[in-house]
Symmetry: C2
């Protein structure tokens, strides 16, 4: 086995999930994540944790959902009991076909999702971490050879996370103290009210309220947003390719939108509910191990020298105590490239220019 | 997908497990049982049952067990809660390597097994059924091509079970009424006391106290046994090939044993504990869909025109109310061919001669 699979498993178990002896660990294994699951099982055995593995197959889900009617029992007792008694939930993604369940009707999928609110909440109450094993299917989605894709994935995951956490802490401090953030680049002039917000230093560990491996972003939930933005990083949303999305915000709400490609998908998302037109997240990608777009949001949104904004639901962790953030059934991230002719400022001070942060060599403070 | 996979899934869900709408079903999926799992998921969706799939990988278990020490936590709460809240447990066997975990030390395996008594009992309290998906690994174990092996497996499984159950009921009636069973063939002259015993008509359905698919045997737990027996059907026990085992019983206990091959394994089994030298089961294979030995006890012991005896633990279902059968940590089946120059009799009356039962065409009542 590629020794990097074992390194991945150890980072996942130790740095990300902080597994302790006696922890009840639930490992969800995608169709093609077998090798990573074996390495994770070994790491869990070494640490004296208790292991249950579930099989997370898109083909199995598709068959089940298509055969079922829309009347799903709410939170089946065996699944709920399993998760409520788990301390740690590790999701090992990596299927054989990213389009495996596209022909499940949206209404069926929605009915199933609504029947599982308590199961989802119980999962969020564990020390959960989501990661992926590099598979041929994900390489294909990225438009890469299998070997090159594995190199890419491990470069993103096998990092010195403590060091990146320390670097990201500098941006978190600036955002926490700041009142107004500003992004300026081609066709983009966007102002965010971030007063009283707390940024999350998303360092790929439950100890940092961070639940993705890889991670490497600092994000917050702006109170208000004004201006226009161009998302020039292409991506796939709900199976549809989208490119060059433009949004205009007034008083925090999208008042105009357009896209070179996939405008219909953007329209459907924005019209989901009232909260879907408002901003849920301002995130700054800081993982320089991720140096290209691979059409997988788990990676793309953490890419160094990018910023992403999400319309829809906000994370409560960013809000003042007692305040509820933007509510919505959606949370869709859109990405803009900050590597050239771009500035991110807080309270009038440039924090990042042309992809370089002010604490890095080569930062140019002149406008 | 081979349409027989869907037929298999439907027999498993409907005939074997008797799944009802709203049942909480736990499906254990072996490494290479994916296709059967998809078909089972579809059948469960159609019937409105609730599905959790676990991943039963020998490689994963091996990695976990080898890395762990011998101090396993007893009955981890998440796994126990999952099974205690399940109505139905379907085990879909079919791995990629039947030797995948042979290098887990026996003591480690034993310590793990002893830590899971309550989990095992909870599983036995569900409507559980064990079956296999035909894999290349099992074909190899059987010494068969993949295509021929699949034909073999489906011939054994896709049967008219109701009709076989009715046929087997005739033997059950004879055994239930009878006091003494007798097997006579080459180097075999064995007498069983079966008075007050209740035979199980093992028709591959929980409604018949039968938990294997395929099944197709009638078995009971003799009170006493005297005489000698030759097991001329070769098999693999604990990874070792055994051939031509001979046992001699006096007052129900093995007093002499020998084997042409694998005698050491037989010795270890018989010396496990006091109950390992006594008989736990007399079973009559009646599934004529199984027409050859494939080195898989799930199939071999049900083969038509064979009888199997198990040393070790007896099934309580066969015993008078309140009586406890033979106790042992082992239950090892050994098989003898009854297809020629053999007679099975009950209370002096021939029931089967040269493989043919008395209710079948061609039965010869003359000695």
């Amino acid at each position: 086995m590629d020794p990097r699979v074992h390194e991945h498993a150890e980072i996942l178990v130790d740095w990300s999930a902080r597994v302790e002896p006696g922890d009840n660990v639930l490992v969800s294994v995608a169709e093609d994540a077998h090798d990573l699951a074996v390495a994770v099982a070994e790491a869990l055995g070494e640490r004296g944790a208790n292991l249950v593995a579930t099989y997370d197959s898109s083909e199995l889900s598709r068959a089940y959902l298509r055969a079922h009617d829309d009347a799903f029992e709410k939170n089946p007792a065996h699944e709920l009991a399993l998760i409520e008694n788990a301390d740690v939930y590790l999701r090992l993604g990596g299927g054989r076909n990213t389009a495996a369940s596209v022909d499940v009707p949206g209404e069926r999928r929605g009915a199933y999702r609504r029947s599982r609110t308590a199961i989802r909440e119980a999962r969020m109450n564990t020390d959960w971490v989501s990661t992926i094993h590099p598979t041929r299917s994900l390489a294909q989605q990225a438009g890469m050879s299998y070997e090159a894709y594995r190199d890419f994935v491990y470069k993103a995951i096998l990092r010195d996370w403590e060091s990146l956490a320390n670097e990201m802490a500098q941006l978190k401090t600036i955002l926490d103290k700041g009142s107004e953030a500003h992004i300026k680049k081609t066709e983009t002039d966007l102002w965010f009210d971030i007063s009283d917000r707390t940024a999350v230093n998303s360092a790929a560990s439950v100890d940092y309220d961070s639940h993705n491996l890889p991670s490497g972003e600092v994000f917050t939930a702006p109170a208000d947003v004004e201006g226009t933005v161009l998302f020039d990083v292409p991506m796939t949303v709900d199976g549809t390719r989208i490119r060059d999305v433009r949004l205009t915000f007034e008083s925090g709400e999208v008042v105009d939108y357009a896209a070179e490609q996939g405008e219909q998908v953007i329209r459907e998302i924005l019209e989901t509910d009232a909260g879907a037109k408002r901003l849920g997240e301002l995130g700054v990608g800081m993982n320089r191990g991720i140096d290209r777009i691979t059409d997988n949001i788990l990676f793309d949104e953490k890419m160094g020298e990018t910023v992403h904004l999400a319309v829809g639901r906000a994370y409560d962790a960013c809000l003042p105590a007692g305040e509820t953030g933007n509510q919505s059934a959606v949370h869709t991230d859109l990405i803009t490239d900050m590597s050239s002719e771009s500035t991110l400022s807080v309270d009038g001070e440039a924090i990042q220019r042309n992809g370089t942060f002010r604490w890095e060599d080569g930062f140019d403070d002149e406008l």
